[in-house]
């Protein structure tokens, strides 16, 4: 029966070629546009560290005075150096790391290559195990190296390829700003997106090539890269010398493996604030936040407004395309009321009529859906050509491919079901009589 219905459907579709093309094109454009934008939204609002992100927390405390130079109810988005080191040394979490961004000139020891600038991260030992950064060779440094300001460095695979041809470079020397560092580890490809641990240096498509112990970097006054906010007497300023005591400019992350530990850590932050107030460093009553990765990303609104706007628009567009197809299908089926009436009178059940019509609308939907998938591929290719920071990430992955198929099938069934059902309601006798 299906073969017969398919044959009928194809004949019917061929009879009104322009109309068929219009319906297919409308569905394809609607699905193409919505899948393109939805994929971009999906990529941008994704989890940077699946499986880990729900145990990683970003503590915020409020060291501001009452000068009002940094207004707002929320505590600052970063920490001061003193607080960062205090929290780091308190070791109240399962793991903790203090960090900031950097921008440093590097050169291999042979010095045949001119120095070039790369993005760096100045951080502490737990950074690698806490964020699960995978090593190709060697390993990270340890807490003792942090305190002794060891000249150890971890580089990423890209820099290792550029300077050492991808060979195991552990133990070799890298010159950073004319200072010799010993390479202790080489990372595998690793670039969490969004760049959750420091959103100040760009939210997407960012990755550091060099990781240096924070206190080593500060001792050498390596160039910092990021944002700083100051209040009171702390003047603004980025560059050769680090921001002052009343400036927040570092990120502090902790790993807390259970809900009880999260509650305890929040309590600890309150106590810490009270203690600092008693010491006269803090002025305000304790004002703390403890958000995990996804909460932090939502709070920081990392998904650009334009992307959300485009997604909404594309789905509106799809809706219009569907309404258009429903209207046209309905008109088409109603036009055939006489045929259908004859079939009914000859004994066909409503159900088989419905099946016949559904096959016809299904053909339109499937062709439209495949077209939509091709258009989505084209749309994502166009997104990748754009200069935005997330351009390179716009790829259709398995789950989005599935969503596309579901969307195509679902929207066609909706677009086909309604007209088919409506057309089946035709009473057979009436149709035979009228002509």
């Amino acid at each position: 029966m299906f073969g017969y219905y398919l044959d009928l459907a194809l004949r019917s579709l061929r009879r009104n070629k322009a109309l068929t093309v219009l319906m297919v094109l409308a569905i394809a454009l609607g699905i193409g546009a919505s899948m393109t934008t939805l994929t971009v939204l999906h990529v941008l609002s994704g989890d940077p560290l699946p499986g880990r992100s729900d145990t990683l927390y970003y503590p915020q405390i409020d060291p501001r005075d009452d000068s009002g130079q940094m207004p707002g109810e929320e505590p600052p988005e970063q920490v001061t150096l003193i607080d960062g080191l205090n929290l780091l040394h308190a070791k109240r979490a399962d793991r903790q790391a203090l960090m900031t961004g950097g921008y440093v000139p590097v050169q291999s020891d042979s010095a045949v290559v001119d120095p070039f600038y790369v993005e760096a991260r100045f951080t502490t030992a737990d950074f690698f195990p806490m964020f699960g950064a995978p090593f190709r060779y060697g390993r990270g440094w340890n807490a003792f190296d942090d305190e002794t300001r060891a000249r150890d460095v971890v580089i990423n695979g890209e820099l290792n390829g550029r300077l050492f041809g991808g060979a195991d470079s552990v133990g070799r020397t890298l010159r950073i700003a004319d200072t010799r560092f010993r390479i202790v580890g080489v990372l595998d490809d690793w670039a969490p997106n969004p760049h959750f641990y420091d959103l100040n240096t760009g939210s997407f498509g960012r990755t550091e090539q060099v990781f240096v112990p924070l206190q080593t970097a500060m001792g050498l006054k390596l160039e910092r890269h990021g944002s700083n906010d100051c209040w009171g007497k702390g003047a603004g300023g980025v560059g050769r010398i680090y921001p002052g005591e009343s400036c927040v400019w570092l990120q502090f992350w902790v790993q807390l493996d259970s809900a009880a530990k999260v509650a305890a850590y929040e309590q600890f932050l309150v106590h810490y604030s009270q203690e600092q107030k008693a010491l006269g460093r803090f002025v305000r009553p304790p004002n703390v936040r403890l958000r995990n990765v996804m909460q932090w990303l939502a709070h920081e609104k990392v998904v650009p407004d334009d992307v959300r706007l485009q997604t909404g628009l594309a789905f509106g567009f799809l809706l219009v395309c569907l309404v258009n197809t429903i209207g046209l299908m309905l008109a088409k089926f109603m036009r055939r009321a006489a045929d259908l009436g004859v079939r009914r009178a000859l004994g066909a059940s409503k159900r088989s009529l419905f099946a016949q019509l559904l096959v016809e609308s299904g053909v339109v939907g499937i062709v439209g859906g495949v077209g939509g998938l091709l258009l989505a591929g084209l749309g994502l290719w166009a997104v990748r050509q754009r200069p935005s920071s997330y351009a390179a990430l716009a790829h259709l992955d398995g789950s989005m491919l599935l969503v596309t198929f579901a969307l195509a099938l679902g929207s066609t069934l909706v677009a086909g079901m309604l007209p088919a059902w409506r057309a089946c309601q035709v009473p057979p006798a009436l149709q035979l009589k009228s002509n």
Binding site: A18, L19, L22, A26, L29, A33, D66, S67, G68, Q69, P71, Y103, P105, D114, P115, F116, Y117, A177, D178, K221, E223, C230, K233, A235, G236, G237, V238, G239, R240, I241, P243, G244, P304, D305, D306, R308, L309, Q310, L313, A314, G316, F317, L319, V320, C321, V323, N324, I326, G327, L328, L330, A331, K332, M334, R335, R386, P387, S388, R422, N435
Partner: protein, 410 residues
Amino acid sequence: MQIKPILAAMRHHKAGTVLIALQIALTLAIVCNALFIIQQRIERMARPSGVDETNLFVIRSDWADKSDPQRIDAQMRADLIALRQLGSVQDAAPINSFPLLGSGWDNFIKLQPDQVKMTTDSAIFFSDEHALATLGTRLIAGRNFTASEAGAQQPRDAMHAAQVIISKDLAHRLYPDGSALGKTIYVTMGRTPSTVIGITDTLQAHMTGSWAGPYAYNAVLVPAQLLNDYTYYLVRARPGQLDAAMRDAPKALFAQSRMRIIDHKDGVMTFAQVRQRAYGPDRGMAILMAIISAVLLAITAAGIVGLTSFWVGQRRKQIGVRRALGATRRDILNYFLTENLLIGIGGVMVGAVLAIGINVWMVSQFEMARLSLAYVAAGVVALLVLGQGAVLAPALRASHVSPVEATRSV
């Protein structure tokens, strides 16, 4: 024209009528908002920067060695002399950031040293007495810096800002009565006063984000070159010699010293590139909105043509009967035009409400202005005209149905 029989006929194809009205409504709602967004983005992109964009370019020079501030200072002065001596170059100035760059230095500006809250926020440009001539920005009051006022400082030094030149918009924000020249203001985030010695014509800040909307034209020029790990050089080419100057300038800099890094990709940028970079996302959004609107209108028009064609085909016999009973071709044409107009009016009424509803929702979700009713009105007219245009061909075909059709059985 009789409307009653049209309404009676519509009742026979309710679903189709509702669907086409719904499609018109949704199209109107989306297109109105899309056009409004396009207009806002175009307005943003058309904002003047206040600088001589056609002849201006910038070079970013990163110092390759960790040299001390004195050496950087001397190097920058030597670089600038070399740049200014080039035949293709009209003038050059050091600067830490510039209009439309996106990143830079902004400070709270206060009128009193003890003020707790800021009066406004402003971009801080560290440069020298050549800044205005290089930017091509006119002074509208006061005087330029003198060579002896121009100094040098590191980022965390006390700001070398005893004398400052401020932009027209900042002057107006601080002293709306127009008396800013010669006044004392506080631009250092501290208690050190600065005297306003000059006011420039329009000059845009480096901030391009939507948060900076109120401060987009606030700029303070400080007479000090900033000794940082890198610097920008603004270079103004002689008219028509931009290409030559862009070739000559990096060579001249490398001839001064090779201990610098000028990125091969964006180390040297024309101001046109700076502008394109700053407004790229806005342009992309506007283009996307325009494409979607055009396709949407085309699909809706095609939908109306398709649906009306079906209705005409379905009613050939009735049309024949009406023609046989004395209806003119014009009567038949008017019938279909009126029917479509009624559906269209129903659609645009719903659509107008929907358009405003979507805008209200967007205002609550995104940083966006209220939709002006003019857009809704324009959209309503456009969709009604589009609808009537789309229905014209099928309606004409209907009017050509011969009265003989009445006598045919099928």
